[in-house]
């Protein structure tokens, strides 16, 4: 039995002035699968997430989720359909506690009430290791906890598709291992995961499929090892910044 398609980008184009983010880009993602996204800085990876989550309108083309067009569907409705996302630069609700940050996601995106919402929050906070910080105002969290909160909040909405934007950047090795464990557990429950990450070793231990985005096109798509071995992928990294900030940290 074929696995149903969850997310479909159909000939999507987007540009900011001269900067081409996507040029007639098509992509499909199966339900419950994992996909890693790499590409040089400014390639448009985060903007691609924006087009899926509803923050950015595509110039042309169509995004479909679970067989349904997302044209004119706003970000809140997309979340309620099952698209959860994190932001590369965390966007916590700084005046609210960690508990409240997650609760609003469970209530609004997850459409849960009372005890069901609380239970969801407690599950998510314990899973992401934030339970002990539940009463801390999000504005007082450090960067690592903010990144965890991004993940917790997205999970609290009960997503079918989880979009992770560089959640492993700046983490130490044991922290990366812990995060990978969390994400694999989420995926094991049937949540599809798309993960943008420069820390390639984290990706390699999590995703079954990798794409490389550059110049508005998918220049590599397949098993992670195969994609990283492609000459055009190596060319971009070696040509642009070597193993510097733009390249994969292997």
């Amino acid at each position: 039995m074929p696995v149903p398609i969850l997310l479909e980008l159909d000939r999507v184009s987007k540009r900011f002035g001269q900067v081409v983010i996507a040029d007639d880009l098509s992509l499909t993602l199966e339900a419950g699968s994992t996909l890693g996204v790499v590409g040089p800085n400014g390639a448009g990876k985060s903007t691609l997430f924006g087009m899926v989550s509803g923050d950015v309108a595509p110039g042309s083309g169509e995004v479909r989720f679970a067989g349904r067009s997302l044209h004119r569907v706003d970000a809140a409705a997309r979340c309620r359909l099952g698209i959860g996302r994190t932001y590369q630069v965390p966007r916590p609700f700084v005046g609210m506690t960690v508990f409240e940050n997650t609760l609003v996601a469970a209530q609004q995106g997850g459409r849960l009430h009372r005890q069901a919402a609380t239970d969801r929050v407690l599950d998510v906070l314990s899973e992401t290791g934030l339970l002990a910080s539940a009463n801390t105002p999000a504005g007082r969290l450090g960067l690592l906890a903010r990144k965890r909160l991004e993940v917790a909040r997205a999970l609290a909405t009960g997503p079918k598709l989880l979009l992770l934007d560089e959640v492993a950047g700046g983490l130490t090795e044991p922290e990366v291992v812990e995060l990978v464990g969390i994400i694999r557990a989420v995926n094991a429950r049937g949540v599809a995961v798309v993960w943008i990450e420069h820390v390639v070793r984290a990706l390699l231990s999590t995703v079954d499929r990798l794409i490389c985005l550059a110049g508005g096109a998918v220049i590599g798509d397949g098993r992670p090892e195969d994609v990283l071995a492609l000459p055009q992928v190596r060319q971009i990294y070696l040509g642009s910044a070597g193993s510097g900030p733009g390249g994969p940290e292997l």
């Binding site: 409240e100 209530q107 906070l125």
Partner: protein
């Protein structure tokens, strides 16, 4: 989607860190004291307090608009005016002006719905200007009606039979009731499910949308509620002045007051506008003899607050964890409080 991990066993969620009585009893005491004022103090004092209550209502509703929903309106005088004229029209039809106060609030909420369809198409500065234009248009429309006194306004009928002292006291109680109901309504709204969503919008609108908050719906609700509040304030204003002057009720000065009060007191909290209204009111009385200087000083204070003390006087106090009206949640672990861990790393450095 989330695995049941059984994490919830034994955890309890409380709405307040302390007992609810800590908020309810002192608040009830203050209201009871204020309600007693007309029996002991002269008319001059109650009239002054009526002005204060009007200011408090306007500031509280403007704070809900600008501080929570991100709707920086400079046109709430549209609803002060509509509320005032609603009382006038109803009184001309024989309705008791005091009974007309809640009706005026309803009229304003009803009027604000179609207006919201119009002004919500505008963003930021355009929204602000748009709301002002709406207020001006309302003023221009109203003065077309001869029965409403045209450009000079009209006297409020229906209160001639009252004894002056009794009327003063009744006006005072009406203003106090409107202020208490407005604060109570704002408090209950912020404690509700919608209130948590609004607080998220206050802190980060984009992230709020991404976790499923229906932002336009929440904003519209606040806009309607704020219009009702401004309408009630306008209704009380007419009753204190016993006449309606279009140049006064539709004046943009009301918006200036609201902005001053909320900037001084602190945006985005319930307590801020109360504190701001007190400070503003004292400053206004103290500087009243200095003519235009008082506006200059107030303006300077507001600018200083806006630039250097972003969350106002209340923001300074909040650092010490003081809260008069707690709206948040508090998670209690099975064995007591969940631990407050030390910071796991230094505060975030700006990236990119």
């Amino acid at each position: 989607m989330t695995a049941p991990t059984g994490a919830s066993t034994g955890y309890r969620v409380r709405r307040l860190r302390r007992s609810a009585l800590w908020t309810a009893l002192p608040s009830a005491g203050v209201v009871a004291l204020l309600a007693y004022v007309p029996y002991v103090l002269e008319r001059k004092v109650t009239d002054t307090l009526v002005d204060f209550f009007i200011l408090l209502v306007l500031a509280t509703t403007w704070n809900m608009l600008a501080g929570f929903a991100g709707l920086v309106s400079v046109g709430q005088q549209a609803y002060i005016g509509v509320g005032a004229y609603a009382v006038l029209v109803l009184a001309q039809q024989g309705v008791n002006p005091f009974a007309a106060i809640p009706l005026a609030a309803l009229v304003c909420a009803a009027v604000s719905l179609p207006v919201s369809w119009l002004v919500f198409r505008l963003r930021g500065g355009y929204f602000a200007i748009g709301t002002w234009v709406v207020a001006e248009v309302f003023a221009l429309l109203v003065i077309r009606f001869e029965s409403l006194g045209g450009g000079t306004g009209a006297n409020l009928p229906g209160l001639d039979g009252f004894d002056a002292v009794l009327l003063g006291a009744m006006t005072y109680w009406a203003a106090l009731s409107v202020a208490v109901l407005t604060l109570l309504g704002a408090y209950l709204l912020l404690r509700s499910r919608t209130g948590l969503a609004l607080t998220a919008v206050r802190d980060n609108e984009l992230a709020a949308r991404s976790v499923g908050v229906r932002v336009p719906r929440a904003k519209r609700m606040v806009y309607l509620a704020a219009a009702a509040g401004a309408g009630a304030a306008g209704a009380v204003l007419v009753i204190t002045q016993l006449n309606v002057q279009p140049g006064n009720v539709f004046s943009v000065k009301w918006s200036a007051y609201m902005v001053f009060v909320v900037l001084i007191g602190g945006v985005g909290s319930l307590e801020g506008p109360i504190l701001g209204a007190i400070v503003f009111f004292v400053l206004q009385r103290a500087l009243a003899d200095y003519g235009a200087w008082y506006l200059i000083v107030l303006g300077a204070v507001a600018v200083v607050m806006a630039v250097w003390v972003r969350r106002g006087l209340w923001g300074l106090l909040e650092r010490f964890d003081v809260r008069v009206f707690p709206t948040g949640f508090w998670l209690q672990a099975p064995g007591g409080d969940v631990a407050r861990p030390p910071r796991d790393d230094p505060p975030p450095a700006p990236r990119h």
